[in-house]
Subunit: 219 residues, 2 copies
C-alpha cells in the first residue's frame, strides 16, 4: 500500500482517470504521460502529475510515461473495485428496496446481504432473495454472522441518527449515508454521505436561474 493517504479531491478524480485510461488502452496505447491525461480531462498538468505519482506503485519509463495497464490496476485497487465488502441496508422503503434489487454495486465491490426495517409489512420477508430483519435484531452478532462491516442508511432524515447509533453499536466500520441529513458517529467509524436531493437541487436551481434570467431578458 502507498504510505501517503490520498485527499478526498484526489479520490474523486480517480474514476475520471480510470475512464480515460481504459479508453486509451482500448485505442491500443500502452503508455501515457500526465500531459495527455491532463488534456483528456481538461485538468492542469502539474495536478495530474502529482495525482499519478501518488497512486502509482511503479515508476515511469523515461520519455514514455506510465504503463497504462499498471495505472488501471493501481486505481482499481485504491477504489476497491477488486475487494468485496458485505453491507446491510437499513430502511427498506422505496430507495432501500431499489438498492436491494440493484446489481451495479457489486461491480464496485459492495454486496448487500440483508435489509432492516420496522415496517410490519416488510420485515420478516425477503427482497430479491435477501432477508429483511426487524430493526431491533440489528446487532454485532448478526452482522458478524452476515460478515457485514458496512451499513447503508436509506431511512428518512428524522430517523437517520437513531439508525446510525444502532449501526455504531453493532460495530460497523463504515456507513454509507443516503439520508438527507448529517449523522454524528465516533471517529473510528467512517462515513460517506451522498445526497441525491442536493445533487438534484443543483440541477433544479441552475435551470430555474437560467429560465428566470431569460424571462427577465425577454420581458
Amino acid at each position: 500500500m502507498r504510505e501517503k493517504k490520498l485527499t478526498k479531491n484526489q479520490l474523486h478524480r480517480l474514476p475520471d482517470y480510470l475512464w480515460v485510461l481504459k479508453n486509451l488502452e482500448s485505442s491500443g496505447l500502452k503508455t501515457v504521460n500526465s500531459q495527455t491525461l491532463a488534456d483528456c480531462l481538461d485538468l492542469n498538468n502539474e495536478l495530474v502529475r502529482k495525482d499519478i505519482a501518488s497512486i502509482s506503485t511503479e515508476s515511469g519509463i523515461p520519455n514514455k510515461g506510465r504503463k497504462i495497464s499498471q495505472l488501471i490496476a493501481d486505481i482499481e485497487t485504491i477504489l476497491g473495485f477488486n475487494r468485496v465488502s458485505n453491507a446491510v441496508i437499513v430502511g427498506v422503503g422505496s430507495l432501500g428496496t431499489a438498492f436491494l434489487h440493484y446489481k451495479g454495486f457489486e461491480d464496485f465491490g459492495l454486496r448487500i446481504v440483508a435489509g432492516f426495517d420496522n415496517n410490519p409489512y416488510i420485515k420478516g420477508k425477503e427482497v430479491n432473495d435477501k432477508p429483511v430483519y426487524d430493526i431491533s435484531e440489528l446487532s454485532e452478532e448478526l452482522l458478524k454472522k452476515l460478515n457485514a462491516n458496512i451499513g447503508i442508511i436509506t431511512v428518512p432524515g428524522y430517523a437517520a441518527q437513531v439508525v446510525a447509533d444502532a449501526l455504531v453499536k453493532a460495530k460497523v466500520q463504515g456507513i454509507w449515508n443516503f439520508a438527507p441529513t448529517k449523522i454524528n458517529v465516533p471517529n473510528n467509524v467512517i462515513v460517506s454521505n451522498i445526497n441525491l436531493a442536493t445533487s438534484l437541487a443543483v440541477l433544479s436551481y441552475e435551470l430555474y436561474f437560467k429560465n428566470e434570467k431569460e424571462k427577465s431578458k425577454n420581458g
Copy 2:
C-alpha cells in the same frame, strides 16, 4: 428571485440549513440568528451569515435574527422542492428500473414520466405504469408531449455520451448524469453529475487505509 447567483458550495449547504431549521421550528423557536445555525452545523459564523443574507428574501429582525418559517420557504424555493419538473430516464437497466419505482424524487420536485432503452425485452413495456420507449423514439416532439425538460442518464459509462447527444438533440434543458463518466454538452444545457461508485469508493478507500494501518501496527 435573488439577483446574485449562489455558488455550488452554498447550494450544497442549503439542505443542511433546511434540516436544522426544521428541527429548530419543531422545538418551538420562531427566529434564529446565524451564530445558532453555525453552532448547530459546526460552521464558521461569518460564512453562515453570508449564506443567510444570500438566500433571504426578507431582512432580519434586530436582536432576534431571521424568521425561521421564512428561511425555510426561501430555501425550499431555491432548492426547487415546490416546483415540479418532468424528467425522462434513459437506460432502464437495474438502476433505471429502481428509479422508475422510486417515489422519493417527487418530494424534491422531480417526476419521472417515461423511460428509454434499446433492450428488446424492456422497450415497449411499462415499468410502474410508466412507458418505456425505444431509444430511437427520443425526440424533441415526444419530450414536448411528455412535458419533460430533464433527462436522467443511467446507462453504462461507454454509452453515456451517445445518450447525452441524443438528449441535447431532443432539446432537454438539464441532464442528471448517473453514468460513471463525464459527458460533453453545449453550454446552454445544465449538467449535474452524481457518481455512486465514487461515493462508495471514498468509503471503501478509507476503510482499507484504516485496516492496513492497523494491520501494520499490529504486525
